[in-house]
C-alpha cells in the first residue's frame, strides 16, 4: 500500500506537469505536408462515422517556435472552435469549453505559468506583437497555446496553405476501459505492458496514427519506475502469502479434532465452510486495514526521505481501499484454500507451478513482451527456485551429517523432519534474501556505472547553465525582455570568463527538439571535437553527418551503431549516421549529439545554454560568477555530489522495501519456528526426560536456526544473483533504455545473507525463549501427547 500511495502521488505530480495534449487518451494523426483540405477530409470521414466511434474530439495543430525572452518559446496552434466539450483543456484549466475557446479566439494565448500574464511580447512574422496570456499550470515551461489562425499568422504561414504539423484526437476517458482500471490498481502497468500502436480503421489515405503519450517520455519513464516499485512492493504480498499458508496449515492441524467433533455433533459442512469464509473475511479486513494504516505511515516517511521539500498529498480513495482489502482477501483466501486442501490439490501444485513458470520464462528473452514480460520472467525464476525447496530437503536428508556431534545432528534432523512446517517459511525467507541481494547488486552496480560516467563527463572544473526565463530574476520587474537578452547573457558570460582567465577553454552546447519517425527526440548540438566527444566515451572528432546516440534512442528505434536515421524538424529532413552510443543514465528522452553544422541544416539557430569551462583559475571563476540570476554555476565536485545524493535518495525507497520484505520474512520464520516447536513438543519433552540438558536443547535450537538460515541463503544466493542480472540486463533496459553492468561483489551480497541468517537465528531464539516462559509445556506434552501430529518421526529417518 505504501508503494501504491507513493506511485499515485508521483503520478499525480507528473500529471500536473504533463502537457494536456500528451494525455493517455490522445492520438496523433499525421500526414506529410497535410493541408486544410486533408484535414477537412479526415474530419469529414470521422463525422460521417467512417472512423472509430471512440473518438470524441479532433483538432488540427500548427506547432512552431516563436521568440520572447532568453529562449525560443514553443507554440501550439489548435482550432479553438472545434476543441470543445471533452477537449484537452477542460480539466487543466478548470473551466468550461467556452472560456478556453473564448480565450484563444479573442487573440489571447494560454501560457506556461512562468511567462508573463498581462502583456506577453512576441517576435512574430507580423513584427512585435503584444498579447494577453492566461497562465495554464499544465503547460510545460516555455510553451504557449493559441488559436491556429493566430499561430498561422504569427509563424508567417499565412501565404498560401500552411502545412499542418499534425492532428490531435481524443478518445473516451481511460477510466472507461479495463486498462484504465488496471492502471489505477497497479500504477505503471500500462507503461510496463506497452500499449502498442493504435489502430484507427477508415483513416483516409496517407494518414498515420500514434499515441501522443509516446512523446511524453517523462511519464513513460515514471511509469516504468512506478511499475518497478509496484512489482517489488507486490513481493511483500507474495511473501505474506507463503507465511499465511504456513499459518493456515498449523491452524487446520490444530482445529482438525474440533472439526471432526463438530461434524459428529451434526454441524453441516456448509456451516463449516461459512466459518472458513468468515475467518478469511476477518483476516482480510484486519490485514487490509492494518496494511493500509502502515502503508500510509510508510509512504509518508518514504516520501519525506526522498523529496523532503515536496508537499505530500496522499489521497485515500476507493481504489486504495479496494486494493488494500482486495489484496488481503485474495492472499488470505488463497493461502487458506491451499492449506485446507494441501493433502489433495497441493500435490499437483509443483506441476502447476512449473507449468506457470515455464510459460512466463520467455518474457525474459523477448523484448516485445515489455517490462511486464520481464517481471513475469523474474517471477518464473523465483517459482522455479521455490520448486527446489522440497527436493532440497530430501537431498539434505539423504546426506545426513553423521560425523557431527549428536546435538548438532539432532538439530539438523529436527529441522528436516519438520520440513512440512518449515517449507513455506524457508521459501519466504529465501525469496526475501534473494530480493535483497538482487536489489543491492543492481543498485550498487548502477552506482558504480554512474560514478564512472560522471568521472568521464566531469573533466572540466566549472559548469554553467543559462537560467530559464522562469529562473531568471527580472530586475526591472517587467517580463518583456527581448529575445536578445539570452544571447547577451551568453556573450557577457564568455566575456567575463575570458576576462578572468584568458586561457580558459569554453565548450558550449545548446539544446533543441526534433523528431524521428514522428516521435520526439532531444538534440544536443555543439562543437563535438575529440576533446568533447571523450566525455561520451568516443575519442575522435565527430564528422559532419555523424551523430552519437544515447542508449534510449537506440532502443526506442531499434537501431545499432553504424545505422542511419532520418531526423525531421519542421519541413527539414536530415539523414544522419550513428557513429557511436553513450549511456544516458537519467536521460528521459532519446537524445542525439550532433555537430553545429548538422543542427543548422535542421534549421536550428545555435543558442548556447550550457558551458563547460576548463580553467586553471576555477575557484576565481566560481567566486566571480556565482550569484548572478542569469545563470547557474556549479563546480565538478558539486555536480558529482549532487548526482550521488539524487541517486541515493531515489533508491532509498527500494532499499527500504527490501528491508521490509526481510522483516516480514523474519516474522514468518518466527511463526514457523513456533509451530514447529509446538509440533515437536512431545519429542523435546522426551529428550528432556532422557537427560538432555537445557543448554544442549538450546544449542540444538541454534543449530536448527542456523541450518534453516543456511538453507535459505544457499537458495537465495544463486537466485539473488540471477535476479540481479535480470534487473541489470533486462529490466533496466526495458524500463529506462539503459543497461547496467552486472558487477557483483561480496560487499553487495554479504549484508543480505547476514540479515537473512540473523533473522532465522533470531526467530529460533525467540521461539525458544517463548517456550522457556512456559517451562511445563515440554514435559506436559509428553503426558498429554500433544504435538505428536505434524511430526511423523522424531529425527526423521536417521
Amino acid at each position: 500500500m505504501a508503494v501504491h500511495l507513493i506511485a499515485v502521488s508521483v503520478d499525480r505530480s507528473l500529471a500536473k506537469l504533463t502537457a494536456p495534449w500528451l494525455g493517455d487518451d490522445v492520438l496523433v494523426l499525421r500526414k506529410p505536408a497535410a493541408k486544410l483540405d486533408d484535414y477537412v477530409a479526415l474530419r469529414t470521414a470521422w463525422r460521417n462515422g467512417d472512423l472509430a466511434e471512440t473518438l470524441t474530439e479532433m483538432t488540427p495543430v500548427l506547432e512552431g517556435e516563436i521568440e520572447n525572452a532568453n529562449s525560443a518559446l514553443h507554440i501550439l496552434g489548435i482550432d479553438a472552435f472545434s476543441w470543445r466539450v471533452g477537449g484537452l483543456f477542460d480539466s487543466t484549466l478548470n473551466a468550461d469549453d467556452q472560456s478556453v475557446a473564448a480565450t484563444l479566439a479573442t487573440g489571447a494565448v494560454l501560457a506556461s505559468e512562468e511567462l508573463p500574464g498581462d502583456a506577453l511580447l512576441l517576435q512574430t512574422a507580423l513584427g512585435e506583437v503584444r498579447t494577453q496570456a492566461w497562465p495554464l499550470g499544465a503547460l510545460p515551461e516555455n510553451w504557449l497555446v493559441a488559436d491556429i489562425g493566430q499561430v498561422s499568422r504569427w509563424l508567417g504561414t499565412s501565404e498560401g496553405s500552411a502545412d499542418l504539423s499534425y492532428v490531435l484526437a481524443t478518445q473516451r476517458q481511460r477510466q472507461e476501459n479495463w486498462m484504465g482500471l488496471a492502471e489505477r490498481m497497479l500504477p505503471g502497468v500500462t507503461a510496463a505492458a506497452g500499449q502498442g500502436e493504435p489502430e484507427l480503421a477508415g483513416l483516409p489515405e496517407g494518414w498515420t496514427v500514434a499515441r501522443a503519450g509516446s512523446d511524453n517520455t517523462l511519464r513513460v519513464f515514471a511509469g516504468s519506475i512506478m511499475f518497478n516499485l509496484a512489482a517489488l512492493g507486490s513481493l511483500s504480498a507474495v511473501v505474506a502469502g507463503f507465511l499465511l499458508y504456513q499459518a493456515a496449515v498449523v491452524s487446520f492441524q490444530r482445529e482438525a479434532l474440533l472439526r471432526q467433533r463438530l461434524l459428529a455433533l451434526g454441524v453441516q459442512r456448509g456451516t463449516l465452510r461459512a466459518l472458513f469464509l468468515l475467518q478469511t473475511l476477518i483476516d482480510g479486513i484486519a490485514a487490509g486495514a492494518l496494511g493500509l494504516l502502515l502503508g500510509i505511515a510508510l509512504a509518508r516517511v518514504a516520501l519525506s526521505l526522498t523529496s523532503p521539500d515536496a508537499a505530500i498529498e496522499l489521497t485515500i480513495d476507493w481504489v486504495v481501499w479496494a486494493k488494500a482489502l482486495g489484496t488481503a482477501f485474495l492472499v488470505s483466501g488463497a493461502a487458506r484454500m491451499l492449506a485446507s486442501r494441501r493433502d489433495s490439490s497441493v500435490r499437483k501444485m509443483p506441476w502447476i507451478t512449473a507449468a506457470l513458470a515455464l510459460a512466463m520464462l520467455p518474457g525474459l528473452f523477448f523484448d516485445s513482451w515489455g517490462l511486464l514480460g520481464a517481471f513475469a520472467g523474474l517471477l518464473a525464476c523465483c517459482l522455479l527456485a521455490v520448486l527446489t525447496v522440497g527436493p532440497g530437503f530430501v537431498f539434505a536428508d539423504r546426506f545426513s551429517v553423521s560425523r557431527l556431534p549428536t546435538i548438532i545432528q539432532l538439530g539438523v534432523n529436527q529441522l528436516l523432519a519438520g520440513r512440512r512446517e518449515m517449507g513455506a517459511a524457508l521459501t519466504a525467507l529465501a525469496l526475501a534474501i534473494a530480493t535483497a541481494i538482487s536489489i543491492a547488486v543492481m543498485v550498487d552496480s548502477f552506482r558504480t556505472d554512474l560514478l564512472r560516467v560522471l568521472d568521464q563527463r566531469l573533466i572540466d572544473p566549472v559548469y554553467i547553465a543559462l537560467a530559464s526565463p522562469a529562473e531568471a530574476e527580472d530586475e526591472a520587474g517587467a517580463v518583456l525582455r527581448p529575445s536578445s537578452v539570452g544571447r547577451a547573457a551568453s556573450a557577457e558570460l564568455r566575456e567575463r570568463i575570458q576576462a578572468l582567465d584568458p586561457d580558459a577553454v569554453i565548450t558550449a552546447t545548446g539544446e533543441a527538439q526534433a523528431r524521428v519517425e514522428g516521435r520526439r527526440i532531444d538534440i544536443m548540438y555543439g562543437p563535438f571535437d575529440s576533446a568533447h566527444t571523450r566525455r561520451y566515451g568516443y575519442d575522435r572528432d565527430l564528422a559532419d553527418g555523424s551523430v552519437l546516440a544515447n542508449e534510449q534512442l537506440l532502443r526506442a528505434f531499434d537501431l545499432v551503431v553504424d545505422d542511419a536515421l532520418e531526423v525531421t524538424r519542421g519541413d527539414r529532413l536530415q539523414a544522419l549516421k550513428i557513429e557511436g552510443s553513450f549511456p544516458g543514465f537519467g536521460d528521459v528522452h532519446p537524445t542525439l549529439l550532433v555537430n553545429v553544422a548538422d543542427a543548422q541544416r535542421l534549421e536550428i539557430e545555435p543558442r548556447w545554454s550550457r558551458f563547460a569551462v576548463a580553467s586553471e583559475r576555477a575557484d576565481a571563476l566560481l567566486a566571480a560568477l556565482v550569484g548572478d540570476s542569469r545563470w547557474r554555476v556549479r563546480d565538478a565536485i558539486g555536480v558529482r555530489r549532487s548526482a550521488e545524493e539524487q541517486f541515493d535518495q531515489t533508491f532509498a525507497i527500494t532499499r527500504a522495501l527490501t528491508v521490509l520484505a526481510l522483516l516480514v520474512a523474519g516474522f514468518g520464520t518466527l511463526a514457523a519456528m513456533l509451530a514447529l516447536r509446538l509440533a515437536q513438543a512431545r519429542q523435546l519433552a522426551l529428550l528432556r526426560a532422557l537427560g538432555v540438558s537445557r543448554r544442549e536443547l538450546w544449542l540444538m535450537e541454534v543449530v536448527r536456526g542456523l541450518t534453516l538460515g543456511g538453507f535459505a541463503c544457499a537458495l537465495a544466493l544463486p537466485l539473488g544473483l540471477l535476479m540481479a542480472w535480470i534487473l541489470c540486463a533486462v529490466i533496466n533496459p526495458r524500463s529506462f533504455g539503459w543497461m547496467v553492468s552486472f558487477q557483483p561483489t561480496p560487499a553487495m551480497v554479504l549484508p543480505a545473507l547476514a540479515i537473512g541468517l540473523g533473522a532465522a537465528l533470531a526467530a529460533t531464539l525467540i521461539s525458544n525463549w517463548r517456550a522457556g516462559h512456559n517451562p511445563g509445556a515440554d514435559t506436559s506434552a509428553l503426558v498429554t501427547g500433544s504435538g505428536a501430529r505434524g511430526s511423523e518421526s522424531f529425527g526423521g529417518d536417521s
Binding site: 493541408k35 486544410l36 469529414t44 470521422w46 467556452q98 472560456s99 479566439a105 491556429i148 498561422s152
Partner: protein
C-alpha cells in the same frame, strides 16, 4: 414575424460572441448582454442593417449574408413512421460574424471571420427519448459555410444541401452516435414572407430580413437509439439575417409553429419583458392555402397551462392555451423533456394541438427560452 426565433438565436450566440475577436479589450470571462450582442445598444459596428423595401431574392437569399452580423437556417419537422409512431426533428445552423466585413479574404486558411454553430435534435415520442447534438466550427473552407446555388450550408458534418440545381429537393444530413438523420425535403410547401414583404420589424430601430417555407414534404430515415425508422411528414424552414434585431428589456420568449390537420399553419410568439408588460411586437399569423392573416397582441392570447421542471430546478411551461380571435388551441408537449442541454440551454420540442374537446387537430414545434435565467434569479 420572427422575434422569438431571433431571440432564440441570440441566446445561442452568446458563446459565439465570446469567441469574437472584435472585442479584444473585453473581459472574456463575462458574457456580453444579449441586447448588446444584437446591436440593441451597441450600434451596428460596420455591419449592414435590414432595410425596408429590400426585396427577398431567391435563390440568392438562400446563401449567406456576410455583411450582416448573424443569420440562421432553422428547420423543424413533424414526422411519423410506417406504424404511425410520432417523431420530431430540429435542424439548425447559425452563422455569427466575428468582425465587421473587411472587404478582403481572410489572411490565411485558418483565419476565420465567422463562427458557425449547428444544433440537431430528434424526438422519439414512443421511445421517450430526445437526443441532440451540437457542433461549433470556424468559417474556414470545408469546415463550415454556405453557398446559394446549388444551395448548401454545412457545419462540421451537419449539412443541408440541395439535391439538384434548385433549392428543393433538399437533403438534411447529420450523423453521430446518438443522432442520425438523412431526410429529403421536397417542393410543395408554402413560401411566407414575414413582416412587410420580408422586412420584419422587432422594435423601433430593430429589424431583420425574414422568410419561411412551411409544409415542405419530408421523407427519409431517422436513427435513434440505434434503431432506424423510415419517416414521412412535413417541415418548416425559417430563414433570417440581421445585425440588430432586438431591443432591450426581454427576459425570454415563447414561440409556436403549428401545422393543423385542416391545412392551416399557425405561428405565434410572445416576448417576456422584464416589466411583465405585453410586448407590442408579439405576433401571431395564420396561413392557409390562400391567405396569411396576421394578429397583433390585442387579438391573440398565449398563456401557459402546465410546467415541467428540469434537473436544475428550472420550470418550463410545456402546456399552453392559445386563443386567436375566437378560436382556442390547447398545446401540450408530446414529451416533457425536450430540453436542449447545449452551451446555452433552451427547450425546443414536438407538441400536440387539441381543440376544446381534447381531439388532436395538429402538431408542431414549441420553443422556450430564458426560463433557466428566471429560475436562477429566483434562487438569488
Amino acid at each position: 414575424m420572427s422575434g422569438p426565433r431571433s431571440a432564440s438565436l441570440l441566446c445561442l450566440l452568446v458563446p459565439l460572441c465570446l469567441l469574437s475577436a472584435c472585442q479584444p479589450e473585453s473581459d472574456t470571462a463575462d458574457a456580453m448582454p444579449v441586447t448588446q450582442l444584437l446591436g440593441g445598444s451597441g450600434g451596428t459596428d460596420g455591419f449592414a442593417v435590414a432595410e425596408q423595401g429590400v426585396a427577398i431574392e431567391l435563390p440568392a437569399d438562400h446563401g449567406a449574408h456576410n455583411a450582416f452580423r448573424s443569420e440562421w437556417w432553422y428547420f423543424t419537422a413533424v414526422l411519423s413512421d410506417a406504424e404511425g409512431s410520432p417523431f420530431g426533428v430540429q435542424f439548425t445552423i447559425f452563422r455569427q460574424a466575428l468582425r465587421p466585413p473587411q472587404g478582403t479574404p481572410p489572411e490565411c486558411d485558418w483565419c476565420a471571420d465567422h463562427a458557425w454553430l449547428g444544433h440537431v435534435a430528434i424526438t422519439d415520442v414512443n421511445g421517450g427519448r430526445h437526443e441532440h447534438l451540437e457542433r461549433l466550427a470556424r468559417g474556414s473552407p470545408g469546415l463550415a459555410g454556405a453557398v446559394a446555388k446549388p444551395f448548401s450550408v454545412w457545419v462540421d458534418g451537419l449539412s443541408a444541401t440541395s439535391v439538384g440545381a434548385e433549392f428543393l429537393p433538399l437533403r438534411l444530413f447529420a450523423r453521430s452516435a446518438d443522432v442520425d438523420i438523412d431526410l429529403t425535403l421536397d417542393p410543395g410547401g408554402r413560401l411566407v414572407l414575414q413582416g412587410d414583404r420580408g422586412y420584419s420589424a422587432k422594435g423601433p430601430n430593430q429589424a431583420s430580413h425574414y422568410f419561411s417555407m412551411t409544409r415542405l414534404p419530408v421523407t427519409g430515415t431517422l436513427t435513434v437509439s440505434q434503431r432506424s425508422h423510415q419517416v414521412t411528414g412535413h417541415a418548416w424552414l425559417d430563414r433570417e439575417w440581421s445585425t440588430s434585431v432586438l431591443s432591450g428589456g426581454q427576459r425570454g420568449w415563447d414561440w409556436l409553429a403549428l401545422s393543423l390537420a385542416d391545412g392551416r399553419d399557425v405561428m405565434a410568439f410572445r416576448l417576456r419583458r422584464a416589466d411583465a408588460s405585453r410586448d407590442p411586437f408579439d405576433q401571431a399569423i395564420v396561413i392557409d392555402a390562400r391567405n396569411q392573416r396576421r394578429y397583433t397582441p390585442e387579438h391573440f392570447a398565449l398563456e401557459p397551462t402546465r410546467v415541467w421542471r428540469d434537473e436544475r430546478g428550472a420550470s418550463w411551461p410545456v402546456g399552453w392555451r392559445l386563443q386567436i380571435a375566437d378560436e382556442v388551441f390547447h398545446i401540450d408537449a408530446m414529451l416533457d423533456d425536450q430540453l436542449m442541454r447545449t452551451m446555452v440551454r433552451y427547450w425546443e420540442g414536438l407538441v400536440r394541438v387539441s381543440d376544446a374537446d381534447g381531439t388532436e387537430i395538429g402538431r408542431g414545434y414549441l420553443e422556450l427560452t430564458g426560463y433557466e435565467r428566471d429560475a436562477a434569479k429566483q434562487n438569488e
